[in-house]
């Protein structure tokens, strides 16, 4: 259980929207994190520089917050590292198969009113809520 934080949620969200707009203006690209990351993996030709810079920016933000705001980016879930490993594998398969994640479909896609992204967001919100709720009900949130 965590407390409701409407101001930081809204302002952080606004920053995310601003960042996505900046990338669209500078490089004409959708700020979908899984898609940007996929383009960095072996087997993809060219078009890497802006991706490296963008991911570098993400990591720099993580460094800054680790240093300035303790607790902002550390793992604080009650989940085990083993379960997190399984979760990562499923996320990797899912975002590749479904062509996007929370950023590409959820933020950018819905802003464009894309039918595909609306359907994808409804799907991952539904299965995400079912999964987290089941882990809570069956295992008391600890797994």
């Amino acid at each position: 259980m965590t407390t409701f934080t409407p101001v930081s949620a809204l302002s952080g969200g606004a920053l995310i929207g601003l960042a996505a707009s900046l990338l669209m203006m500078s490089h004409g690209r959708i700020a979908g994190i899984s898609g940007i990351y996929k383009g960095l993996l072996p087997g993809v030709e060219g078009d890497r520089d802006w991706r490296v810079a963008f991911v570098g920016g993400l990591l720099l933000a993580g460094l800054a917050f680790t240093w300035l705001v303790p607790g902002a980016v550390e793992a604080s879930a009650q989940r085990s590292v083993g379960l997190t490993a399984v979760a990562g594998l499923i996320v990797g398969v899912g975002v590749t198969m479904g062509n996007g994640c929370t950023s590409g479909h959820g933020v950018c896609g819905i802003s464009r009113i894309s039918r595909r992204s609306l359907v994808a967001t409804a799907a991952f919100m539904t299965t995400g809520m079912i999964t987290a709720t089941l882990v809570q009900l069956l295992m008391g949130g600890v797994l």
Binding site: I33, A61, F65
Partner: protein, 150 residues
């Protein structure tokens, strides 16, 4: 160089937004997805803030003839809803609800050297490569079957 600075700034702003909003805290993500134990609706407001800003700015940006550092806008045009999209997104949600990480916050949190985030990014990368290999396998086997005798 200016283009790279812009992309770096966009990434930094994006990561800052994730950290400010609470998306990098797996416990907060799970408290949003878990409806059984004192639901925390904060992360719905992250979506509201992000979409609210991008909905307007995206349309303003597209008034330009082209992006500043690229020849054209790369906006997806597909409209078909296929099983791949729904099953893939559904799977992603299961992983998200299990671990509390989606790709962006996972990457930002790597900088904290948290074992959870490091493990998440490593296995997520394995999942991406695994599905890409599976996809290539399917494509290779989709070649027309030889005509059958009789």
């Amino acid at each position: 160089m200016k283009g790279l600075t812009a992309a770096l700034t966009a990434g930094f702003l994006f990561g800052t937004g994730l950290a400010v909003s609470g998306m990098t805290r797996a416990d907060k993500v799970i408290a949003f997805l878990d409806l059984a134990d004192g639901w925390d609706p904060s992360l719905a407001l992250v979506m509201v803030g992000a979409i609210g800003v991008h909905f307007v700015l995206f349309r303003l940006v597209l008034q330009r003839p082209s992006p500043v550092f690229a020849s054209q806008f790369g906006v997806p045009t597909r409209r078909d809803i296929d099983a791949r999209l729904v099953v893939g997104a559904g799977l992603f949600g299961i992983g998200w609800g299990l671990g509390g990480y989606c790709p962006g916050p996972g990457m930002v949190s790597v900088s904290s050297a948290s074992p959870h985030a490091l493990v998440f990014i490593v296995t997520m990368t394995a999942g991406v490569l695994l599905y890409q290999a599976f996809d290539r396998f399917l494509a290779a086997n989709r070649t027309p079957a030889p005509a059958q005798d009789a």
